[in-house]
Point group: C2
Chain length 259, copies 2
């Protein structure tokens, strides 16, 4: 039996602890190819590089694993892996992204570079998973996530996923108690409320740091925020069709300006 081909990317950059953990797990499951950003790309959303050039350099950072660092965004990494590194060759059986340093639950999925790599793969028709840990520390403890990452990836390799679906998997920060299991969830109804910390540079010119407070409006127990708050692994199936289908008949009915 041929070993599955697994493409690994992330948004914290190729040297981060999270991707090193992810690569170690994936080596147990198949043949691994890494194409990841050459520097942190957090908050890049689904950005791609238009109107600028890209660099791609082979890297020996992972022992026994073919790896490239790319000057682009996470979405660029998936595109260049598919259409340049693997051009006309066998394509990945699964694309995994992360493990992100910091959670990507709820609305953060939109801003997440980790998930944009996974969603880019879903657009290409490849099953994909973004993994994130609710711990921003650069020396975060990933030990409780590894067995789950393996199980979830094996499950996806066994059963695939519905077409066009990418999984957004979030882990709670490590606690004394063991994780309680996996919950299939919906994206929680929550948002960030920003604040702008105004400062002066050495020349007396104003600049800002954007800071944010996460506000959760969701009272349900079937969403990703609830799951990780209660020490479960949350799995949200995500799609790239942004159409608010339920709004189409509403607008067709309400708008006077339609012909």
């Amino acid at each position: 039996m041929t070993k599955p081909l697994i493409l690994v990317s992330n948004d914290d950059g190729i040297t981060s602890l999270g991707i090193r953990n992810l690569v170690e797990v994936m080596k147990e499951l198949g043949e691994v190819l890494v194409v990841a950003p050459n520097r942190p790309q957090s908050g890049m959303g689904h950005a791609i590089t238009v109107g600028d050039t890209l660099r791609l350099t082979e890297s020996t950072i992972f022992e026994g694993v073919r790896a490239f660092e790319c000057s682009g965004t996470p979405a660029d990494c998936v595109k260049i892996a598919r259409h340049y590194v693997l051009k006309d060759k066998r394509q990945p059986d699964v694309v995994v992204s992360g493990v992100n340093h910091g959670s990507n639950t709820s609305i953060s999925v939109l801003y997440s570079g980790t998930m944009s790599a996974a969603i880019e793969a879903a657009i290409e028709g490849t099953p994909s998973i973004g993994f994130s840990l609710a711990d921003y520390g650069s020396e975060a403890d990933f030990s409780h996530t590894l067995d789950y990452i393996k199980k979830i990836t094996q499950q996806v390799l066994r059963k695939e996923l519905p077409k066009g679906v990418a999984l957004n998997v979030n882990f709670p920060k490590k606690r004394k108690d063991a994780l309680k299991g996996i919950r299939i969830c919906r994206q929680a109804n929550a948002k960030w409320v920003e604040d702008f910390d105004e400062r002066k540079d050495p020349n007396g010119r104003k600049y800002f740091w954007m800071t944010g407070k996460f506000v959760n409006f969701d009272k349900g127990e079937d969403n990703d925020e609830w799951a990780i708050a209660n020490n479960y692994v949350s799995v949200v199936p995500c799609q790239f069709d942004l159409t608010a289908h339920q709004a189409i008949p509403v607008l067709n009915e309400a708008w006077e300006i339609l012909g």
Copy 2:
């Protein structure tokens, strides 16, 4: 009656022809505030500025209109408008973004900075519209779009929009025939197939330009690609809940690893 407050942004930058056209139309409808990027930000998706500083400078580029240029992304512009420029003041009645030089139909909505400004506003609960013209030229002809932009914005101000919905409005390139009207659509099932144009820099090091071919798989007549190909204005209601709700029972049924 108080005039509506209209926040204008875009992703081509504050000096582009598209935003000048948009501001002119909005001046007829209400009080206008512009917060737009200080340089082109195409393809930025829903990127935000994390781990870096932001600049915001007042601009006199639009006669009689309060305007700021921001060093951040389109989503940053909407955030800083709301939480700094308008902090504790009256918030916009509508947020409009564009007019983008180039279409944002189908899957391009994910990569679009224009639409990320609109979606950011929808997250904040403000009705919002991204306008794009299927003409990449920096001297594109916007004349056929202006009356429709006015009508659509008035319609949204009159009837609002379902909660959490942002409109993705696309115009065909100007033709001899007049536009046929407005169609409420879904996002077409299509994607970009990339190619990487490999070159050598003056030092002999490899670099790439990403190029892409748009491939449309959609045979329907209810989608945005069909609409603009047939000289209609397409209006897609978009949402920021990425959950593939229909996949939740499928995974709950199929996965053996759930507790």
